[in-house]
């Protein structure tokens, strides 16, 4: 099974995302900020990361930059999943190394579609 790390400070979003991802046959783990997510990736990088932007301790963008420089053997796909829906945010995320971008609110079709685009569903 493919693995997905859901990084979001909202418990509700993590729960919704987990439910959708499990129906898509992912093994799901969770982190509630960028720092926790980075530690998880250093220990065991997932196949794909669903990443919020605004979080305490370490933002999604800071996490992404750190992830792309981290000494990990694989390159997890990163799908931003955020309410920051402006073009400037989207461009910044892609330039920083995100593979896809989900604008919240999202539904199952959206998430499945984006995971298909990055070759994960």
């Amino acid at each position: 099974m493919k693995t997905c790390l859901v990084v979001d400070d909202s418990k509700v979003i993590r729960k919704v995302a987990r439910h959708i991802l499990e129906t898509l046959d992912f093994t799901v783990s969770e982190a509630c900020d960028g720092r926790e997510a980075l530690d998880a990736c250093l220990a065991s990088p997932p196949d794909v990361i669903l990443l919020d932007w605004n979080m305490p301790v370490m933002s999604g963008m800071d996490f992404l930059r750190a992830l792309r420089e981290a000494p990990i053997p694989t390159r997890p796909k990163v799908v931003f999943c955020t309410t920051e829906n402006g073009m400037a945010y989207i461009r910044a995320a892609i330039e920083a190394g995100a593979d896809e971008y989900v604008m919240k609110p999202f539904d199952r079709d959206t998430l499945e579609s984006k995971l298909q685009i990055v070759g994960m569903a």
Partner: protein, 284 residues
Amino acid sequence: MTMPASGTVSPVALNVFSALLEARTGQQIASYRSWRIDVALKPLLRERGLDTLDQLVTLLLDGQDVRVGDQIVNALVNQETSFFRDAPVFDLVLEAVAGAEAAGRRPRIWCAGCSTGQEPLSLAMLFAERAEGGRPMPEIIATDVSEAAVARARAGRYNQFEIQRGLPIRRMMRWFDSEGGDWVARPELTRLVTVRRHNLVADHPPGGAFDVILCRNVLLYLSPTTKAAVFARFAAAMRPGGTLVLGAGETVIGQTDAFAPSRRLRGLYERTGDRPAPSHAAAA
């Protein structure tokens, strides 16, 4: 007479709406899909301030407002679509136009039943990006029976859920602008597609011969007789060697002799009569 509450479809309403849809579009609503009538027409009931579908039937049959029939048909036609739906099909379309390109012709593509435009715009993005490498840009004609769908396809305007279904973010960034919460295709994209209202059952195909016709998840709503007539029209509207693209669950087998499964493009169909005769026949 007891009026059925909203949420149920009376036999009268089912018959009237089914007959209207079939008369206007050739599409049939099988009885097992009759629940769709209630779901699809709820917004129209609200807009018209009506409580029941039977009241909508009365308004339609009253004939005072000619827009009602159009609105009902627009609501009942299934407009399910998305960008790059069944993505591998788009690679096959690229292959399907190779013959035209090799012959030095500008390929012509018809998206028949294009709904709100995601399919022709997907093709336009794909070919426009490829055209930067010097390949020819095909002529893309997109048609739909629903005036509302045609208007939306022309506008190229999609809400947040629609834009995210199937469209890679880099393509969205390149070809769409954010506007009032929606995403709108840029003029350099929309001008690559000609969108027209067209009734597959009643109207002649758009002029000229096509190299590829896409008609995905439309014909399944037609009766066998009507479907056969549409296949014949498609065949007549194609160049020799033309390719027909149907939905994933659709086939020509047992439906028409005008097309047969393509030997070259798996899952697609080619016009019959264009193939070389079998070798034993050629030797005879």
